[in-house]
């Protein structure tokens, strides 16, 4: 049966089901197919904090959203065009997000009176007019799956588990994707369980053939590849890119990497990923707690390795004292905070940017730490390299901010040529650096580089440079304990100035202001990069000028930022918190930065953000007219 093929520029598809239904795998596989096909894409997994929340309930719904297109896109999309719902809960939980006229493919198998009641449907929504404004394909996906895999002798329950692959096959057909890659993936994944492997592959093929041979779908679609630069690509999540960045930092600096970590969502995947790369001289240490994790990293840095620790907000809170020690001892250290909804345990699996002020100020005393942020999943690679560069070159702990959306979201990544990546020079101290005045020379651990104010890194094993450091205040230069008031005043200012001088090494900011006529500048940091960019495009498409600048470095702020902010009539700052960066900018530049905030555990939707920005553009234009 051949159907009409319609060409589309972009599609947002969401797979939703019970946490045990394998929706993440389904989404991930479809993403790989789209990636290898050459679409640009962006993904948003969304899952509950519980591993297996009660079956068939709304809290137990797990979903995976994919936006793929024939042009470069910036976000996982606001409103799905297609929803694949594996049960009533998945339908109900996602229905309000769909655009009008969206396609819904629904597995009717679980639409029993009991399951409908569980989620508060009095009437089966497939039978009344609940779904009137959508194109609904109500299919017994489970039943067809069980039929397709019956030859493998699995129990009914096990057989039904392949229904996600049936759905994947069907959707793959709908968008003209072949399933060879997914077949190979399944073959490898279930290599040791032949019956499960064969059932999954059979279900995948059956789903594809169902689309091809029946008349259920009158139209199938094609989304052509996106024009991109020549090169080698792969799809990558933020946590993987960040891990690769750390491995790369080890190689580019010649330092062994020691990562101390305690399991915490959504940062654990960094620990998992790094533990696979021992052949790069990477050691992972799963500590007894968050404090020991950073303690070991500080110890490793003192011993001449690149110490790294990765956690989320609650873990950062526990690490605060040890970060202060790293500030005081001026040792290189990378602290990764994959932010999630807070306060306290908050929303472990949801995204938020509410740890910025914690990163900036969450330590006792004047304890300045450079803070840098990744802006997209693949950018986590560059951000990790930059964090390591600053840590090693400037002898300081660095806070690297990612978030739940970047960590689990993915996008195509133009794989860099390793030869073009900048080296990092650890520049270990090798001999005495100070004249004692009696003709002899000795070693002063706090005698600084004149330009950067970085202190020497003398590692154990280096003869003649034996020295003691610690958390007590240091005498300037010699580094022995000092309680002298004037010395403390100087040292506090020196530590602050050392961090400020990192800005000398930063490239000028890039302001995106195509017409040069914008009155409103949108400033952001971290994962809002995509939604802000997409919203600005919408504003421009509606005929208005708007400018965008995005910060990689939040501390120190780049030298040219103040001048850029002052160029515009109005500065607007969208953030997934209650206005933390706007607060910093107001304090630093005395500019009335206007916050736009959301704390729903989800990234900004481009459409809603564009409306907010447009309001600012209009008011500003009226005010200056």
């Amino acid at each position: 049966m051949s159907s009409t093929v319609t060409e589309l520029d972009r599609v947002v598809i969401r797979f939703a089901g019970d946490s045990g239904d394998g929706m993440q795998l389904t989404g991930d596989r479809f993403t790989q197919e789209a990636a290898v096909f050459g679409n640009d894409l962006s993904t948003l997994p969304n899952f509950p904090a519980e591993i297996r929340a009660p079956q068939g309930t709304i809290p137990g719904v797990s979903s995976f959203q994919l936006h793929f297109a024939n042009y470069d896109i910036l976000t996982p999309g606001d409103r799905p065009d297609v929803l694949v719902a594996m049960n009533p809960a998945a339908l109900k939980a996602n229905l309000t997000d769909l655009r009008r006229g969206a396609t819904i493919i629904v597995d009717t198998h679980d639409f029993t009176a009991r399951n409908l009641a569980k989620v508060g449907y009095d009437v089966n929504p497939l039978e009344d007019d609940t779904l009137a404004e959508f194109a609904v394909h109500a299919l017994d996906l489970t039943g067809m799956t069980v039929e397709a895999v019956k030859e493998f002798g699995l129990s009914r329950k096990d057989a039904a588990r392949s229904k996600n692959m049936f759905a994947l096959g069907l959707v793959s057909w709908l968008y003209g994707r072949d399933v060879d890659g997914s077949e190979a993936h399944l073959a490898a994944k279930f290599a040791t369980k032949p019956a499960i492997r064969d059932a999954n592959i059979a279900a995948l093929r059956a789903g594809w053939s169902f689309g091809e041979t029946t008349e259920t779908f009158a139209v199938s679609y094609v989304v052509k590849p996106a024009p991109v630069r020549a090169g080698r690509y792969r799809n990558i999540t933020g946590n993987t890119a960040l891990s690769y960045g750390l491995v790369a930092a080890g190689r580019l600096s010649g330092l062994p990497v020691l990562m101390g970590a305690y399991p915490i969502t959504p940062a654990s995947d960094i620990l998992h990923e790094l533990s696979k790369h021992k052949s790069f001289g990477v050691t992972t240490f799963q500590a007894e707690d968050e404090i020991a994790a950073i303690g070991a990293a500080v110890g490793a840095s003192f011993a001449g390795a690149l110490g790294v620790t990765a956690t989320s907000g609650p873990g950062v809170a526990l690490k605060s004292e040890a970060m202060g020690l790293a500030v005081m001892t001026e040792l290189p250290l990378v602290v990764i905070d994959v932010q999630r909804g807070g306060p306290s345990t908050g929303l472990p699996t949801k995204t938020e940017q509410s740890d910025l002020l914690q990163a900036m100020y969450g330590r006792n005393g004047e304890a300045p730490m450079p803070v840098i942020a990744a802006q997209s999943p693949s950018d986590c690679f560059d951000a990790a390299l930059e964090a390591a560069r600053i840590a090693v070159t400037h002898r300081t702990p660095v806070m690297l901010l990612s978030d739940g959306y970047l960590a689990n979201g993915s996008e195509p990544w133009a794989i860099p040529d390793v030869a073009t990546l900048p080296r990092i020079d650890p520049d270990f101290a090798t001999g005495p650096n100070h004249d004692r005045g009696d003709g002899e020379r000795d070693f002063w651990p706090y005698l600084r580089d004149e330009d950067t104010l970085a202190r020497p890194w003398a590692i154990p094993g280096t003869p003649g440079l034996e020295h003691r450091i610690g958390g007590l205040e240091k005498g300037e230069g010699h580094g022995n304990i000092s309680y002298d008031p004037a010395n403390h005043d100087r040292m506090v200012r020196i530590r602050a100035e050392k961090v400020r001088r990192i800005a000398d090494s930063l490239p000028p900011l890039e302001v995106d202001d195509p017409s040069g006529e914008a009155g409103v500048l949108v400033i952001g940091w971290g994962s809002t990069y995509g939604p802000i960019g997409a919203a600005c495009r919408r504003v421009r498409a509606a005929g208005h000028a708007i400018a965008q600048v995005h910060l990689r470095h939040v501390n120190p702020l780049p030298h040219d930022l103040g001048e850029i902010l002052r160029r515009y009539d109005r500065v607007v700052c969208p953030e997934m918190n209650l206005g933390q960066l706007s607060r910093l900018l107001r304090a630093e530049y005395l500019i009335d930065v206007r916050p736009i905030t959301t704390v729903r555990g989800l990234p900004f939707g481009a459409e809603a953000l564009a409306a907010d920005l447009l309001a600012h553009v209009t008011t500003t234009a009226e005010a200056t007219a």
């Binding site: 990636a35 290898v36 050459g38 590849p225 996106a226 024009p227 991109v228 630069r229 020549a230 090169g231 080698r232 690509y233 792969r234 799809n235 690769y244 491995v247 190689r251 020691l258 101390g260 790369h277 021992k278 052949s279 790069f280 001289g281 990477v282 050691t283 240490f285 500590a287 007894e288 020991a292 994790a293 303690g295 070991a296 990293a297 500080v298 110890g299 490793a300 840095s301 003192f302 011993a303 390795a305 004292e321 040890a322 202060g324 020690l325 001892t329 794989i415 040529d417 390793v418 154990p460 094993g461 003869p463 034996e466 020295h467 003691r468 610690g470 958390g471 007590l472 022995n480 304990i481």
Partner: protein, 320 residues
């Protein structure tokens, strides 16, 4: 010990003394331990630059400042975790932790037991004066019940830890106890601890003349012999109603633990010496072995190959 060393030059106690003025109170037991360590370090045959002392917070934690080796005076209770990082990153270093009863058993209790169970190459010296000295005299987790201090005017109501029992419970591979004032015994125990591969745990009874003077007086005077049980391998010991020949090498720690409970009865002597000394692979050696094994089987990691791994695709020319 752990350090891989070039032939060490002949050093003396003076070579291990830093230029910093020692600032403990007059008569503090810490002086005696510092002296013993300074004079004993040359015997290890290690180069100064290959020795690292890490401490937490407390009177005894000033120790690293007075030794001319590498050192870190870190934060309260965390020294074992920092030392774990050092020992795991570097197999060529001799790593020492200096801690006190508050530092190791209260705020840092978690790190201590985990270091012991992992068996990381380090020697932990726990100076037990049964009091908080640096914060001016509050009761500690080893203070006897009923102790009247600034924070317990009506007497403390906590049951104390016995550090040796705790270490044995965590299945530490080397557990010993000694006394600040007995230079010979102290040195002998430290020598054995330093020679042990893995975590060596040494409790040192240390007098704090300012806030808890005489806590161990009965073990020091002329009548000390009546109050001390000096453990030696093969020594016939009686505890929990049974008699056996003490064997520090016994893998099952039960009898060593029973021995450590002896002085729970105030009329029984206090055992000192080596309770336990067994071999078990160390955490850091095994961590390094995994790295070496990965390199041996897969080759040294190639960064470009890693970045290029997974499902990749190539775009031959710039799109428009």
């Amino acid at each position: 010990m752990t350090a891989i060393d070039l032939p060490a030059p002949t050093l003396t106690a003076k070579d291990f003394s830093s230029d910093q003025e020692v600032r403990w109170c007059p008569g503090c037991g810490d002086y005696a331990v510092l002296k013993a360590v300074q004079s004993f370090l040359p015997d290890l045959g290690l180069r100064r630059e290959n020795i690292v002392f890490v401490s937490g917070i407390g009177c005894s934690s000033r120790f690293p400042y007075y030794l001319d080796t590498y050192g870190m005076h870190s934060i309260h209770g965390r020294a074992p975790s920092i030392a774990t990082g050092i020992a795991t990153a570097r197999e060529d270093l001799s790593v020492w932790v200096v801690t006190g009863d508050g530092d190791a058993l209260s705020i840092g209790g978690n790190h201590l037991i985990h270091a012991l169970r992992r068996n990381v190459n380090m020697t932990i010296l726990l100076f037990n004066n049964r009091i908080y000295g640096l914060t001016k005299g509050q009761y500690s987790p080893t203070s006897e019940t009923g102790k009247v201090t600034k924070s317990t005017p009506l007497g403390s109501i906590d049951h104390p830890f016995n550090p040796v029992s705790l270490a044995l419970g965590a299945e530490a591979t080397f557990v010993a106890r000694t006394i600040d004032s007995d230079r010979k015994h102290l040195t002998a125990v430290l020598a054995a601890a330093a020679a042990h591969r893995g975590t060596s745990f040494v409790e040192i009874y240390q007098n704090c003349p300012i806030f808890n003077d005489g806590a161990f007086e009965a073990l020091k005077g002329p009548a000390a012999a009546d109050h001390l049980l000096r453990l030696e391998p093969g020594l016939e010991v009686t505890a929990a109603g049974r008699t056996w020949a003490h064997d520090p090498g016994e893998i099952d720690p039960s009898r060593q633990f029973a021995l450590s409970r002896l002085d729970a009865d105030p009329d029984s002597p206090v055992p000192v010496g080596i309770f336990r000394q067994v071999q078990r692979p160390t955490y850091d050696d095994q961590a390094r072995a995994q790295v070496a094994e990965a390199i041996a089987t897969r080759g040294r990691g190639e960064l470009q190959d890693l970045l290029d791994s997974g499902d990749t695709w190539t775009v031959p020319s710039d799109g428009v």
